[in-house]
């Protein structure tokens, strides 16, 4: 022990000094640094959580936006479809109407034509009967009176027309 220099008073000095160092460091160094590390790690945790929250919110709103866009798109498509349908309907209706009108016009025109024709036939028949009477009169020279003559012609024409 003597050769190694182990000496109780020196040993106690070193032991007490080292214990004092420990006590000082525990107060001076360990407290502040541990609490600093603690607060920093808490702060980092908090900010990470906040970031996570913000990210979630952003995700949520993006989802919502997407949904709304989808709805709007669907609505727009529906509107376009409706408009297209309406236009088609309208066209159909207009076409039908026009056809009807044209049909009416045609039938009206046909009727008018028929009437004209009847009138023309009547007048022609009138002219023609008188013409024939005059011609026959001239030929037979008053072989029959005018009234008999007329009846005969009418009868003939009627037969002729109904043939």
């Amino acid at each position: 022990m003597e050769a190694l220099g182990i000496n109780l008073s020196v040993l106690l000095t070193q032991l007490i000094s080292f214990t004092v160092l420990f006590l000082i460091l525990r107060k001076l160094l360990f407290g502040p640094i541990s609490s600093m590390l603690q607060t920093r790690s808490e702060k980092i945790k908090e900010s990470l959580e906040a970031a996570e929250k913000v990210k979630n919110e952003a995700d949520e709103s993006a989802e919502k936006l997407e949904k709304e866009i989808n709805i709007a798109r669907q609505e727009g498509q529906k509107l376009v479809q409706d408009a297209r349908d309406a236009a088609e309907n309208f066209r159909q209706q207009e076409m039908e109407k026009a056809e009807q009108e044209s049909q009416e016009i045609i039938s009206k025109a046909n009727k008018a034509i028929e009437k004209e024709r009847d009138l023309a036939i009547q007048s022609v028949r009138k002219e023609f009967s008188s013409l024939v009477i005059s011609a026959a009169t001239k030929v037979v020279d008053k072989s029959i009176d005018e009234k008999d003559h007329k009846d005969l012609i009418d009868k003939t024409l009627k037969e002729e027309i109904n043939k």
């Binding site: 220099g5 080292f18 160094l29 640094i33 600093m36």
Partner: protein, 413 residues
């Protein structure tokens, strides 16, 4: 490309430094140079006493204690600087300390979970303490700057300690005679100059003169003087003793002496030269067994405290004193008890051995190759100092974790 004048100049400078250091060192000394060789410091395993206090109680202030206090001051100032102005975003010293703390927090979590964190104040104190003790011990000047103790002071101081100290209580002269008789072969450095209070330049180990050559006596003279004193003669009436006391007071080489190493007789030029003992003011705190033993005891006390506080007196004490489970368990308990002492001893001598050996390597290199020889070993010592600090504190942590682990848990599987 290699022949640029600048590079040649650098190479020449390096070469000349190397040549100068080789010639000036111990190698050149054998060929008559050795102009840079300092006196080989007497490598003492025990720390040297710088100041001796005799009142109110006898106390030797060792140079390693001074160094311990300086290192404590350095650690405390560094921690004060680091924690004085703490910031959320760390910088400088705060960063360094936080890095160390974070390393130890992670290591503790790995070794014993979150509960191991309560060991950290002790573990980090040991780490920082041992690290700074080791590193301050490497500083130039530690172990080499000191005072010269005269032979008279040396004899007086040694008469207080050792077994000769027992004689001191009764008679100062007897105690000093005891030292002269026992340590007649103790070597003192011989100085080239008469001015002995500045660091001398000598020629290494060859310049040592034994105490008997300085006092001008042979051990038989002392036993004769002792007999005369014991028979009642007054010390001032013994002319031989008066002459020896005068010689010791002068501290000069008065006799030729035979060198122990090779049996040659010392040169006559040594006669009349001053002698003395080099006492460094500083000695690396961890190169003293007292310091390493103190840290080991501190560490083991902390470990026992953790063991008792977490397992209870019965739980932890049962590890050592265990007679209820048969003779084998009782024997194992005794082995465990010895194990705790073995841990203390291994803590002590691992650190002391490494640091003391490093110190000797540095001294030897400074002696062999002055100026440059120390440089690579300084780097090595910085590394070793950190590794030893790491080992000491890591083992404290691991032993702490082992101490708080319940013994019965081991028995279950």
């Amino acid at each position: 490309m290699f022949l640029k004048p600048k590079i040649i100049l650098i190479l020449l400078a390096l070469l000349s430094v190397f040549v100068i250091s080789t010639l000036g060192g111990a190698l050149g000394d054998s060929f008559g140079f050795g102009f840079l060789g300092g006196p080989m410091p007497f490598i003492s395993i025990a720390a040297e006493t710088v100041v001796h206090i005799s009142t109110p109680f006898s106390y030797d202030l060792k140079n390693s204690t001074i160094m311990l206090w300086i290192a404590m001051l350095v650690i405390i100032i560094l921690s004060w600087l680091a924690t004085r102005n703490m910031k959320e975003i760390p910088s400088g010293l705060q960063n360094v300390f936080e890095l160390i703390f974070q390393f130890w927090i992670d290591t503790a979590d790995e070794a014993g979970g979150k509960s191991a964190r309560r060991f950290l104040p002790v573990v980090i104190t040991i780490f920082l303490g041992v690290l700074i003790f080791n590193w301050l011990g490497i500083l130039p000047g530690v172990g080499s700057i000191g005072k010269v103790e005269t032979v008279e002071e040396w004899v007086h101081h040694h008469s207080h300690s050792g077994h000769c100290g027992d004689d001191y209580k009764s008679d100062q002269i007897l105690a000093e005679l005891c030292v002269l008789e026992e340590d007649y072969n103790h070597g003192f450095v011989v100085f080239d100059t008469n001015v002995i209070n500045i660091m001398p330049i000598g020629r290494g180990e060859t310049t040592r003169a034994p105490l008997s050559a300085i006092g001008g006596y042979v051990p038989e003279d002392i036993s004769n003087i002792k007999k005369k004193i014991k028979s009642g003669t007054s010390p001032s009436d013994i002319p031989e003793l008066v002459q020896i006391q005068k010689n010791i007071h002068d501290g000069k080489v008065v006799n030729l002496y035979t060198k122990e190493s090779d049996g040659t007789i010392s040169p006559e030029s040594y006669l009349g030269k001053s002698t003395g003992e080099l006492i460094p003011y500083f000695r690396g705190a961890s190169t003293d067994v007292n310091t390493t033993l103190a840290i080991a005891i501190f560490s083991m006390l902390a470990i026992q405290f953790w063991g008792f506080s977490s397992l209870g007196f019965k739980g932890y004490g049962g590890k050592f004193i265990n007679f209820s489970h048969g003779p084998i368990n009782a024997f194992v308990g005794i082995l465990e008890l010895f194990g705790e002492f073995a841990k203390t001893i291994s803590f002590t001598f691992r650190l002391f051995g490494n640091m003391f050996a490093g110190e000797i390597v540095l001294i030897s290199m400074g002696f062999l190759l002055p100026l440059i020889g120390m440089m690579p070993f300084m780097g090595l010592e910085i590394f070793v100092g950190m590794i030893q600090a790491l080992i000491f504190s890591m083992l404290t942590l691991v032993f702490g974790v082992m101490a708080v682990t319940s013994h019965s848990e081991h028995d279950d599987h």
